[in-house]
Each structure stands twice: as C-alpha cells, then as structure tokens.
Amino acid sequence: MTQALGWWGVPLAIAAGTLRGSIPFLFVSLGECLTEKSGKINLGLEGVLLTGAMSAYAVSYLTQEQLGSFFAPWCGVLVAALAGMALGIIQGWLCQQPRVNDVAVGIAMIIFGSGIAFFFGKPFIQPVAPRLIAFEWGNWSNLPQVQAALKVSPLFLLGALLAPLMQWFFTATRWGLLIRAVGDSPQAARAMGISVFKVRMLSIMAGSALAGIGGASLSLYYPGSWNELISSGQGLMAVALVIFAHWNPIQCFYASLLFGGSQSLGPALQSVGIDSYYYLFNAAPYILTLLIMILTCSPKTTIPGTPGALGKDNTP
C-alpha cells in the first residue's frame, strides 16, 4: 500500500503520528502549565511519566480478569493519575523547603521516579495487558494509512477538552485566580491570607496526576507496551513546550500537536524508504525544542506570560 500511495503516505503517516504522539505531550504540558502557573518548575514529570506508564500497564494487566478488557485499562489510567499524585506530594513538599532548588528536586525525582517504575515494572515487561480502545473514524476508507490517520484515542479527546477547560479555570474560577496570584506574587498572596504552600502543593499534585495520565497513554495506547525505553523525554520537553506556549493551556494544545508531529517524522520517512538518517530524524523533537527555545528566549527580556515568581527561591 505504501508503494501505491507513494509520497502521499508521508503526510498521512505524520497526521496519524501526530494524533498518537501528541497525547503524552498534551497531558504532561498541561500538567506542567498548571504547576508553573503556581510559580514552581517540575522537571520531575519525566519520572512521573514513567511511573504512570508502568502503573497503568500493570493495573490494566492485573485487573483484566475482574474488569474485562474495556474497563481494566481505564482503571489503569486512574491508578496512573494517583501514582503521579503520590510523586507530586514528594515533589511539592520538598521543593518548597527553604534553600531547596526546584530544578534539583526535579532531577532527583527523575531518578527516583524512573527507579520506582523500573523496579516495580520489571515483571510486566513480558505480559500483554489490554489497551485502551480508540475511535476508528476512518473505516470508510480501505487505505490503512487513512484509517490510521483517523484513529483517535479517547485520551486525545479528553486532553483536547481539558486545554480550553484549564484556560477557563485560570480566568473564571476563584481557584484559578488563586493559583495565578501565588505564581505571580507569593508575597502579595500571603498578605491576602492565601496559603502559598497549599496552593502550590495542590497545583503540583494535580499537574503530576495529569502527567501520570500522559504516561498511561504511552503504555496503554501508543506505543502500547511497557518497557524501560518507553518515554523519550516527553516529560522534560514539556518544560520547554510550556515556555513556547507562553503558559497558555490552549497554546499548549497546539504546541503538543507540533511536537507529536515532529516525533513521527523519522518513522514516517522510514515508511517511504528513507532510513539512512533514521536516528537523526528521531532527534527532531529535541532539535525542534532547542531551536524554539533559542528563537523565543532572550537574555534581556522575560517572555510575556511568565509567572512573576517562577523558579524564584523559597522565601520563608
């Protein structure tokens, strides 16, 4: 079939790859966006992503008998969110201690989170767990490329809905205003009697739960298996993605599509026989992220939308 479509296979493959590949980016970047709005950077989402992927897969595998192969993966998604939240508690508490740097805590959480994921995930590398069912909107076509391009995961729809919802949350709910206040000026928030610690803790926990769901999408949808190489740094790229999206959830959605698409460049080109630069094309998301950061950052000015207190030291 690839032969029949020729070069038309490339954009279709990229479209299909975008829909699949953008899901983890979407959830992790929304989670990071929520966290950073409260003024803290969470680099540890990479560890959360892995833990989420492992726990979702393990729970889906273990509960398939009781819940059946439709509900078991959703139970996995739920547990992945809870596991992410648990790691978020560690991150949220530790990074708010005096003189503790949130970036350093993030690096430690990457090591710890991946350690936990690999430790408990070892027995689940072999077995096959039920995966999330996707909507197949392309069955009218008999071209597998078209079918693949129109196969949409419910998690993608959930994420696509979450982005405008989060935008609304930030502007039209009291909680959203509180988070923005804490992220922009913790001193002023404190003067208003807001508990900065609590708001940040909850934001980090909620953000980590979202990242956990992002991990579940890796192991239960695409690529749809559990192994130690399942994440290719989406948790880290989310930090750059949020900067690129100017801390706006809706722009996070568009940015996720872009990053997911760039990730499918290598496989798409390989499918038409270009594979001599396979590894370099696979590095496209990283190179893209770096280029975007080089273009958007400036040494003299801060990027519009940056929460005022982002990454600043903890004032007791």
């Binding site: 009291r174 205003l177 923005r180 002023a188 003299k300 929460p307 005022g308």
Partner: protein, 513 residues
Amino acid sequence: MMTPPPNLEIVHLSKHFGPLVALDHVSLRIKPGTFHALLGENGAGKSTLVKCVMGYYHPDRGDIVINGQSRTIDSPRRAHQYGVGMVYQHFTSIPAMTVAENLVLARYDRKNWLNWPQEYEALAAFLETTPFRVPLDVPVSQLAAGEKQKLEILKQLYLQSRLLILDEPTSVLTPQEADEVLGLLHQAVERGELSVLLITHKFREVTAFADEVTVLRRGAVAGQGKVADLGVADLAVMMLGEAKPPKVLNKTPWLEGETILELQDLHVLKDNGLEAVRGVSLRVGRGEIVAIAGVSGNGQKELVEVLAGQRSATGGRVTIQGQVYHATRREMLDYGVVALPEEPLRNACVPHFSVAENMALRTFDRPPQTRWGVWLILKAMRERAQELIQGFKVKTPSPETPMEQLSGGNIQRAVLARELSSPQIQLLIAANPCFGLDFAAVDYIHEQIVAARNRGVGVLLVSEDLDELLSLGDRILVISEGRLVYESPISEADLLQIGQAMAGHDHVHPQGQ
C-alpha cells in the same frame, strides 16, 4: 447607605521582642470620621502598633476596644470583620492580573465560579460610590504608581473597611499624586464615611490633612493632640526628642570643571522589552553632584544599571573623559568608576561571602591580593579588609563573618569602604544609597559622598528622596517616563516645578544646556 466607621480605642498596649521594648503602654483613640496621623521615625514602633491592631502580632498587655467592647484580634481577617483594613506600604496587588481580578480575589467570600459580565457590572457600580477612578480591565503592572495606590485603598473599601490604616502610602508617589490621594480620603472622612489612620514621617502630610496626631518615639507616646493646636516645631521636638540641628554638609563651592561622564541619547530596555530609558543625554563634571529625581519606575533603575555594568544599552553612547565606556573591569579601573547602589546586599555583595571577600571584589585580581596572576593571597585580602573595617568604622565581629549577617547600615558602609578606597576615583554612581538605613549611617554616607565630590570626584546621584537630592546635589534633573524633563542648578530649583515634572506633566523647563 454605608455603615459608619468604627470607634477604635487602643488602651495601654505593650509589646516586647525579647529584651527590646517595641511598644510601651501606648494609648490612642480614633473617633469615627477623623483623620488621625501616627508620626514617628523609622523604628519608633509605628508598624508594631498597627500590626497589633491588624492581628499580625499579639500584644503582651493592653486592650483593643472597638465600639466600646474589648476585642481580641488574631488575624487581619478578624480586623476586617470589625471594619478595620490596612493599606500596605508595598503594593499587594498581583501585577499580572487585572484590576477587576485583583478586587475579586481580595474579597473574602467563597464564590467559586465567576460570571465576569456580572462582576464587571457590580464593580463599576461599586466604583461609582468611591471617589477613585481606576480602569478595571487593565493589568496592574501597567498602572502608574498613583493608580496602584488607589487600587490598594479601593480594595479595602471594597471589603467594607471603614477605618483605613495607611502605612506610609505616599513614599512611592509624586507630591501631586500624594496630595490627590490623601485629599480624596480627607473629603471622604469629612463626609463621615471613613476614618483614616495615616502612618507617616512627613510633617507636611500631617499638617495638610490630619485632624489629630499621635507621635511615637522609641515605642512610647511622645505627644498627642489636635493638629490645629500644634506647630511643626512642636511635632519635630516630639518626634526627634531634643531639637536636632540640621546636618551641615561642608560643600566647597562648585567650579565648572572638565566633563567626566557624558551620556548621549541613551536608550535602554527594561525586563519586559519595553523602552525604559528613551534618549537620555547628560553630563557630569569634575567635582559635581548631579542629582536625578523621579518617581521609581521611570527608568532611573535601568539607567543606573547601564552605568554599573548590570544591563546593556540598546542605543546611544556613554563616554568617560571622552572615551567610550562599556563598563568592563579594565575600564572601571582605568577610569576610576565606582558605584554605590541601593540594597547593597542584593546589588553589590555576595551575601554568603565573608566581609573580607566582599571587600576584595574590586582588587582580588591584582597584586598584592594575587601573585603571578594565578594565585590568591588570602592573607593580603584579610589585611586589606582589616584596614578598611577600621578606616570606615564597619561594625563586624571579624573579617571572616558572612556579609549577610551584618546590619544594613554596616553592609552599606562596607561597600562604601570598598568603592571609595579604590585608587583615583573619578566617577561615583550612587542610587538610593541610604534607602532603609538609620540616621547615623545616612549622615555618614552623605558626608562621604560630599567629601568625594570635594576631592574632585564626579557624582551621579539617583534617589527617590527629594530632600537628599536637594541637600547634596549641585544640579538637579528630573526623569519621567525615561526622559529628562527638568534641569536646574540646585540654587534655583523650584519644588513645585520639580513635582510637576516628576508627575509627567508637560515639559516644564525645556532642558537646555
């Protein structure tokens, strides 16, 4: 109509911090519908008193009586319930959020979902009931200082506070803005809608706006009464104790000399990418103090940062004695450029470095502190620091003490010692050098600046304290919205015009050479 302001009585309030007596049996009464001033020097106990009233501190002894009943106030929220609200010295609004969002956020209710069209309507209706006009949909970061101050007051009115405590509200305003804000409050007080407790150390504000005054000195009431019965001289005696002779600065007559520093059409961006300094040209001559006045946030911070090497200019030229200056270490040494910035711990020191290391920042890479260009001689650093500590009377346990453990005054003395002991200084850049320091330190630093000027050093002095500028400067300039809008020799300076220039009213005096 509105509820009337509460009747607040403070009865024999005392507060100790360890051995320090912060408040000693302080009593005062604010009758409904009065404008009461609380006057005192820094450290006289004004803040401690209002923090007790607002529930931040728990007093050791004494009562707070509201409308005839003794009350325990354990949080600002409780104070609000009794109609008492505080307007802070530092703005407490969230810069990235709009005025409307800030007002809604300040509200204590638990309304979780916000219907913005409805909220805007309610807020506009509320604004109608107040004398203040502030745009609702503009982010606070884009408001002028006066508008921010109004927003702080609006927040309290919005919370139904009827007794407003204002903590030095005019320190960041132009004289005109200050008069407008206090005037509007004064009118509201006259109509019986509000009571005001104004914390200040400016006599002018007391005599112009207050009905009654309480003067604090070292934690105790030094005088109380109706403003109409008291003169400025009485207030000064109460506030300062024995009459303090005005400090005489020995300034030698200024002679027009060669140009040390010259700025030509300087342009600088601030952090958000907007232009902060928009084409500033000026010159500083030998033995001259050029004073730059302005409300903070009008480009003076960025201007000083360019000269101190902390920011790069986007256009224009800086020359020192005719040579282009880029603020490199080499040039600083060759041309003798030193600086005395505000908040020295943040701008001029490494907080966890020792006093000796901090004092070596300008000299560590030269003999005798470095041998063969590659080896630090720690002993030489220490000896040099000991000389400077003695010479400039810096109070520190030892040269090895971390800088951050010193008091603010001693930190600035240590920086002064380091900067003024550099060989052959020609230019001193000073920015709010006395901000937040006690009287003794202020006098000392002023003396040293004038002494440097008398030796022939050119001084560029940027300050938010007009009195400081007028007493030290030889020439005064005003910066507003990134441009110099007023210039005059100190002897011909006109306060009214300076105030108008600071407020950004037309070019009062076309800047001429």
